[in-house]
């Protein structure tokens, strides 16, 4: 380490690549910097790398479930399976073949952008990408073309993060920006009924519908059928109760790779809250907000979708995943403790409003998170202002 260092330091041959070297070095070895002459002489064992890796670990249950479910949905749609646990190996391999390339592409594309920016802008490579690189694959369908994954990742890292100055400076959640980019640029590959389940060269079972549970619920509202009935009878040619509440909760449904399982999102939430990495206030208030808004919709119900029991909002679509992993991004969320309650609550409520009242976007969590990302500084502004006002009032008393 010490031998190669001079090559990259000022005056060395590879001076311009210093930050690339530094990233590699500090990844392998914790640096030997010591604390300064004045100030804290000892430091806490935490660093940003460890914090970020904690988030990655919290995502692993959702990832593994997503891989298996991708295979499961494939066999289910093509008539290859009826039970959840049969053909275990097949499902796992099918899932891996589909999902791993997406992860690799996201990491490679995003990592490259990070490295280029670090070298040009002369800042250290940021650990934030460890998380973004795995979040992006989890919020797209397994059938997304790889070039779209790469393009979305590059777009999100550049536009949502690097133009603002890198990790810690961004306003929008990077992974949500990637998804929003795909949603608006290539809607054909990320919406509708056809994209959520991989069929490959096989054909679907007769009468199979690839609609997500969210779409089923929405259409039930349009058709005037009670949502719970519509969910219960969905795809009944293939088996009873495919969209039962427990299946929705565990996540045996079509959807983006990592978002289907509320259970796995909750496991991730436990890890994040237990390690103190994510704010429990945002998670709790997010779920509460969705329930409250769902309940208000019940009271005002003019169609069947509005009358859907509020707990269904928790298990449909990507709400749980979005609240646990996207809304809690410390950089783009509200940063004051009071602000976090308001921020989470509004994300939950907005998600349900968008879902129920907006015909164009079946999934509300993406727009709700991005919208509240933009408003988080405003919430914080008022919380900080209240703090200043308390100080001023004290002075005049």
């Amino acid at each position: 380490m010490d031998k190669q260092r001079p090559l990259f330091e000022k005056g060395g041959k590879l001076e311009s690549l210093y930050y690339a070297f530094e990233a590699g070095e500090s990844f392998l070895f914790s640096p030997k910097h010591t604390t300064g002459i004045k100030g804290a002489q000892v430091k806490d064992a935490i660093d940003l790398k460890r914090m970020m890796i904690t988030v990655v670990v919290a995502l692993i249950p959702a990832l593994i479930f997503g891989i298996y479910n991708t295979g499961h949905q494939h066999l289910l749609a093509t008539g290859g399976t009826t039970g959840i646990w049969d053909h275990f190996g097949d499902k796992l391999t099918t899932g891996m073949v589909l999902v791993l390339p997406i992860i690799l592409v996201a990491y490679a594309a995003g990592g490259m952008v990070e490295a280029i920016f670090a070298v040009i802008r002369k800042h250290p490579i940021n650990e934030g990408f460890l998380v973004t690189g795995i979040l992006i694959p989890l919020v797209v369908p397994a059938t997304t073309p790889l070039w779209q994954v790469a393009l979305a990742t590059v777009f999100a890292v550049v536009i949502a993060k690097e133009v603002f100055g890198g990790t810690g400076m961004n306003i929008l959640n990077v992974a949500m920006t990637a998804r929003a980019f795909l949603y608006f640029a290539y809607p054909a590959q990320i919406s509708g009924d056809q994209v959520w389940t991989y069929l490959g060269d096989k054909t679907a079972v007769d009468g199979y519908s690839g609609a997500t549970a969210l779409a089923v619920a929405y259409n039930a509202g349009v058709d005037g059928v009670p949502v719970t009935d519509a969910l219960a009878t969905h795809n009944s040619v293939m088996g009873a109760d495919l969209f039962s509440f427990s299946n929705l909760f565990v996540g045996w449904i079509p959807g983006s790779i990592g978002e289907t399982s509320t259970l796995m999102a909750l496991v991730g939430a436990l890890i994040l809250i237990g390690t103190g990495v994510a704010s429990w206030k945002i998670i709790v208030s997010g779920f509460a907000g969705a329930y409250i808004m769902g309940f208000i919709m019940n009271l005002l119900a003019v169609n069947e979708y509005m009358a859907m029991p509020p707990e269904y909002h928790w298990v449909l679509g990507g709400l749980a995943f979005g609240i646990v992993f996207m809304a809690t991004d410390p950089v783009s969320s509200a940063q004051t403790e009071t602000g976090k309650w308001i921020y989470g609550l509004l994300i939950g409520m907005l998600t349900v409003i968008i879902r129920v009242t907006n015909p164009a976007y079946p999934e509300g969590i993406m727009l709700a998170v991005l919208f509240m990302n933009v408003f988080a500084p405003l919430i914080d502004y008022y919380v900080v202002k209240a703090n200043k006002t308390r100080r001023l009032q004290r002075a005049t008393v």
């Binding site: 910097h33 100030g39 103190g276």
Partner: protein, 451 residues
């Protein structure tokens, strides 16, 4: 009306090497030094002595030309052996080779009953004890021309491995009382003495009168006088309060009762690398080498004047800081560690519980921490952590960001008047992004102070 305040926010850094309540008979240090860099806000030093001069304990050595009525006196009697200057002739140290028996510069004893405030202040300022009085806001040596709204004394120190005043001030009760009585003459407001509410009142403070005694309990930084002021009588724009440590109060008391500048104090020699952590009686500015040499567990160490959160790295042959009652010796941390950011560990202390940091499972364990920086500086990412170790109604991250942006109004509105470095020192320790928090705090203070 005494107050009882219980605080929850904060964190106790539990280190190995706590001092035993006994005195060690280390060899007496031969040299002592006064370092103008210890006195924050010291602007234009003027040295009043030359190398080779002989001085008594209490002889003025230097003044700050911007506040020339306050003198900085020699802690011991002896010969000036070195006036050390650094870059651009910045004055660093005045070193005195001490006599075997200290000779004091004796002045008239003061009668507190009859003395006029202005005369009293003049005497104190000219005695050498005055720099013990610190002004809030800014944490600088108090200006004798000001009238403080109150004076605050924190009677306990919650910093890691800090000395126990209940032990180190034994036998000084008479001087403590005289010091407190003196301070009471300097303000129209109250003199507050804040004690640790989680323990019985130490004998040295049990009989004290003429002060308001308040009880504070909770984790560090509850012992910081800044935190206590925030909960007793917060400092607003335009307010001036003074703070004194108990050691300073004793020095003031000795000057009033005996007419001498007696800088002797009991200091703790602590830290995981010290074989025999204990207390020793010495004078301000002592050369620390005699306390440490032959008393070390290992060779590669960092010697700190003060505690690990707010102290200053000094040499093995370095001198104790003016305001420090405490030496800490810890291992130097200049090593690479393979995948150090990912390894699970129970040996490294962390306030956090992120992946693989298990220190929270053993809250009673005494940790050995070294001076490794534990990662590199990054932008602010994690939120809510600074707030959880700052038991004040202050938003540290917003304040620090305002300082980084040199935003004068924001810095002022977000509460810079209420803090000095030590109040946010814990933030610097727990920071995920490794910002030099205390350096930033001083930058913010100077932004306001010199504008």
């Amino acid at each position: 009306m005494s107050k009882i305040v219980k605080l929850k926010k904060g964190f106790d850094i539990n280190l190995a090497g706590k001092p035993k309540q006994e005195f060690s008979d280390f060899a007496t240090p031969r040299t002592f030094a006064i370092k103008p860099t210890d006195f924050i806000g010291f602007q234009r030093p003027k040295v009043l002595v030359n190398e080779g001069d002989t001085v008594k304990a209490g002889t003025p050595l230097l003044i700050d030309k911007s506040m020339s009525q306050v003198i900085y006196a020699s802690p011991v009697s002896g010969e000036i052996v070195e006036i050390k200057r650094g870059d651009r002739r910045k004055l660093l140290e005045i070193t005195i080779l001490a006599d075997k028996d200290i000779i004091f510069d004796i002045s008239q004893k003061l009668n507190l009953e009859s003395i006029d405030r202005d005369i009293l202040i003049g005497k104190l300022a000219a005695s050498g004890v005055w720099p013990n009085i610190i002004q809030r806001p800014f944490g600088i040596v108090a200006n004798p021309a000001n009238m403080p709204k109150a004076i605050f004394i924190s009677g306990f120190d919650t910093h890691p491995l800090a000395p126990d005043y209940g032990f180190s001030l034994q036998g000084e009760e008479k001087y403590l009382q005289a010091g407190v009585d003196t301070l009471a003459k300097l303000t129209l407001g109250k003199v507050h003495l804040n004690l640790d509410g989680s323990k019985p009142v130490p004998a040295v403070f049990a009989e004290i009168k003429n002060v308001q005694v308040n009880q504070f309990s909770g984790p560090h930084p509850v012992g910081n006088v800044g935190v206590q002021i925030h909960h007793l009588d917060p400092i607003n724009k335009g307010d001036i309060a003074w703070t004194v440590t108990p050691t300073g109060v004793v020095q003031i008391g000795k000057f009033v009762l005996d007419g001498v500048y007696d800088s002797s104090k009991v200091i703790a020699v602590t830290g995981s690398e010290i074989t025999k952590p204990s207390y020793v009686r010495t004078y301000s500015g002592a050369n620390v080498s005699t306390f440490i040499k032959g008393n070390l567990n290992s060779g590669h160490v960092r010697v700190i004047s003060g505690n690990v959160l707010t102290g200053e790295k000094i040499h093995l042959e370095g001198f104790l800081g003016f305001y420090h009652n405490h030496i800490t010796v810890i291992p130097e941390g200049d090593y690479y560690e393979f995948l150090g950011w990912a390894k699970p560990t129970t040996e490294k202390l962390s306030y956090h519980r992120a992946l693989g940091l298990f220190s929270f499972l053993t809250p009673k364990k005494e940790f050995v921490l070294d001076s490794n920086g534990r990662g590199e500086e990054r932008a602010f990412v994690q939120t809510g952590v600074f707030e959880s170790v700052t038991p004040m109604d202050i938003l540290p991250v917003y304040l620090l960001k305002a300082i980084l942006a040199d935003d004068y109004d924001e810095v002022e509105e977000l509460g810079i008047y209420e803090i000095v470095e030590e109040d946010l020192a814990l933030c610097e320790f727990v920071d995920v992004s490794k910002h030099p928090v205390q350096e930033l705090v001083r930058r913010g203070i100077e932004l306001i102070q010199y504008s």
